[in-house]
Symmetry: D5
Subunit: 125 residues, 10 copies
């Protein structure tokens, strides 16, 4: 478990097959935050794909974690990097990728993708 600014906890449960590398994907099409400049809501779909180590992310707490962004003013690029950092801190996965597909604004549709690997944690070039 890890504590966020706004007091939402990401729960985990023990990985049922830690001896095997396998992949878990959770896609949520109901993500919404607020644009820090205009104050208007942003909408997007967040997908998390990871190889668990000893912990799996519990689905209900993941849903509540996403809800914690509902009234926060934050840019797309920061959203994806923050979610990756928080989920890595909570579950210590072997590998994890977070992708956000954000709805059209001003005629432009945006996708942001960030990755973590326990061997090269910050995906440095």
């Amino acid at each position: 478990m890890v504590s966020m600014n706004n007091e939402v906890k990401l729960d985990t449960f023990p990985n049922p097959r830690p001896e095997r590398d396998y992949t878990i994907t959770h896609a949520c099409a109901e993500f919404t935050s607020v644009c820090p400049i205009t104050g208007n809501p942003d909408f997007g779909e967040i997908t998390v794909e990871y190889v668990p180590d000893r912990l799996c992310i519990e689905l209900k707490s993941l849903k509540l974690y996403y809800f914690s962004y509902r009234q926060r003013g934050i840019f797309y690029e920061a959203v994806i990097n923050q979610i990756l950092d928080d989920l890595v801190a909570a579950s210590h996965p072997r590998r994890m990728t977070v992708t956000g597909k954000f709805n059209v604004r001003g005629g432009i549709y945006s996708v942001i993708t960030a990755k973590y690997d326990a061997v090269n944690p910050h995906n440095e070039p």
Copy 2:
């Protein structure tokens, strides 16, 4: 043949071309089990892709094997790893991948994928 907890047997038949590496995929969109916490049904699509060695999995017994999960309480992550273990035990394939795509719960859609390779059976990192 292998025996499961609830007495379902996975039948096999001899591979008609064991001298050749080739791929068999069976996708079943009618998988259902029960959530061990809420007692509500879960629904998903299970796909098995494998390279047979001396045995092929018989389709009708695969269907019945999936039916054996209908009243069992089990988490997504455990479902996929259990199916992979059971099918490997029954058919001793050269390689096998099991994927489960589970219906939306709490606004989140989940996919779990686990792999087996006879050379590195537990896909260890």
Copy 3:
């Protein structure tokens, strides 16, 4: 040309550019055979992708070759390996892949894929 059990001949014609490696794909969504256990018809789509050497497969005879399966009792796995063997024997390609996508039976959709390479003819592991 090669002769099948039921007297269908697979015709060929000279490859117009044998000095170049290039790829030919023929997909037939009208394949039907008979289940050897139940006697019920099976339906599927057969795709052949190959790099010709000196011979190309003639389309009309390929259609007739597929028709020769219409009343034959044969399993999915055997269908695909048999088609691959017959087309290789008739056209001696550099490489060939045969894929069968078979209609849902008992809630399960199946795909079988087998490959041939002149360098490693039986795709041995």
Copy 4:
């Protein structure tokens, strides 16, 4: 509220705009029952469209009502007529249509649709 054979109650709540004719549709792609002849599971999508009178159908109890079919042996035609009868008895709508789209069995995909109208309750010819 109405009581079913297997003790599931369909809850209702007061219609917030009874003075207006408007339409409510609930579609559930997770319906499953059992074939009374083979004992194999059937799968389908049930859609209910209705114009409420004084009562609206509560969603959670509708979900539980569908779950009550999970182990019942019943034909497609009877499923749809039974659901229509039970929902009419529980909510007394002005009009209601129940549609079931059932998964392929033996190469055949089936759809059953039954309607109720308070003016002509049994939709008699």
Copy 5:
């Protein structure tokens, strides 16, 4: 029950709600017959939509009935009118529509639709 040329019987069972007009649709994407001119197979999807009176058409016998066309030489237009006549004779529905969507031949895709109504049995103009 009704007997066809090639001895296939269309079974029926009692309509569970004869007092109500409702609609049953069965779609089969695995229909195949033979072109009476070229001897080549034809392929299509047959859809039957009907309002039952006292009898419903049994699915397994409908599947076998379609199989009886597998080796028959018959034109598209005759196929659809014959199926309509046979199903009406076997089940005496209140209304019935039979539609055939036939695969591309010579670059042309064909659809044939014929209807029966107990009040105007031959849909005369």
Copy 6:
């Protein structure tokens, strides 16, 4: 203009062709409110189709009006009837239909549709 509980105003502008009956549709896939029972967010797509009389609804204020539901606890059925009432009060259209398609909850996808007609304002039966 009309005032809502939470002080959002729906702006309008003069219809450029009031002498002609024509149709305007605005679809917003970014609607979100809160379930009054669980406190969880609901998500949906709201479509408004109307024939203007002397006033057209201004798009930016419509967007802000939808945002006013972001933190309100309200049932699906009440959402749609409330939006219809508010838009009718603000723009006095000749005819208007409001449709909400709400995301899957408990395996059930819901659609609510309500209509207004200046001749029969409450669409009474």
Copy 7:
């Protein structure tokens, strides 16, 4: 049979159920003619839907009839009215509709539809 400018004959065969009104549709996605102004080829899909009287249109001659437009300079609007006139003259149907969907030219996609009814042959207003 009817004779066209360029000597193509539209063959017909006797309607197998003249006592019944039923519908035949033939769609050809391989229609091409020439623009009478630029001399560039035009491409489109022609669909014919008709209720036969005593004659049905034979498919192979319909294909050849379409081929007769391959080198003709003719406008979209004239193509569709000409096909309707020729097919009516050849088969004397009870009702017929001809639709042409023509590929994008100058960023504009065009569809032309013309109808014939034996009771009001020219579809006069």
Copy 8:
């Protein structure tokens, strides 16, 4: 021919079958104008469907007519009514419908549809 503000002429040609009521549709996915408030470009697809009387609209001049909106500041509702008025003035059709589907702005997708009928020219209620 009719003259627009910015000197674009809509050309016409004689209807090849004026004695028959038939339908012509032209869809252009490359329409763009300018928002009169923000000065930002708007994008949309304009579809014109009409029954010609003595004149048909010439495609190239229609394309140029749409280009004349490229730098004009104009609201969606005015665009559609203006196009309808101009095309009616140029071609005097029996009936005409103009539809504009405009790209998402502020999360809202808009469709405007206006109709003309020579019997009731302004589609008055």
Copy 9:
């Protein structure tokens, strides 16, 4: 520029960024030739993807080049290899791939792909 049998010239223009490797793709869904055996038209979509060196292929002349096949009798396999040879001769690209997707004939859909690389011009095995 290169001259073809039927006097069509493929025009080129100077590559605006010859110092950079980048990719150009042109897809034409309006290709038609004639079957050299039956004399019937063939239809397909031709896609050219290439990395230009000093010359780019001019679009209008490419369109006219494709038109030159309209009345030529030629097999699928020869079409693709001929187009590749002609375009390479006209534009001397660094790399080029030509793909033809040909419409269904006898129930079979065909795709042919040939590649050129300036380092290994004939893609020899």
Copy 10:
């Protein structure tokens, strides 16, 4: 920031996670320029995918930058290389790919793709 011919500035903001390699994609389906030969508008979808270094591209200025092409006469190949050069000059990314998908002209649909890599800036062969 960088200055273009027509005085549009591409704004940037600091990358919130410069220590991590991650990917940002912006797709705009509302790009339009003018053909330098015919003077007719061209339409396309421009997609930019990049790995930021110290700067991210600000969305609103990207939109305005695309608008600056609205009245410019420029070829497809030049458009894509120019956009890549300008965005690289403004944001100094680690890697960037620009893709343009341009609408059908003369029956041909075109896609152009150019890449930049800070290690090999001009993607030289």
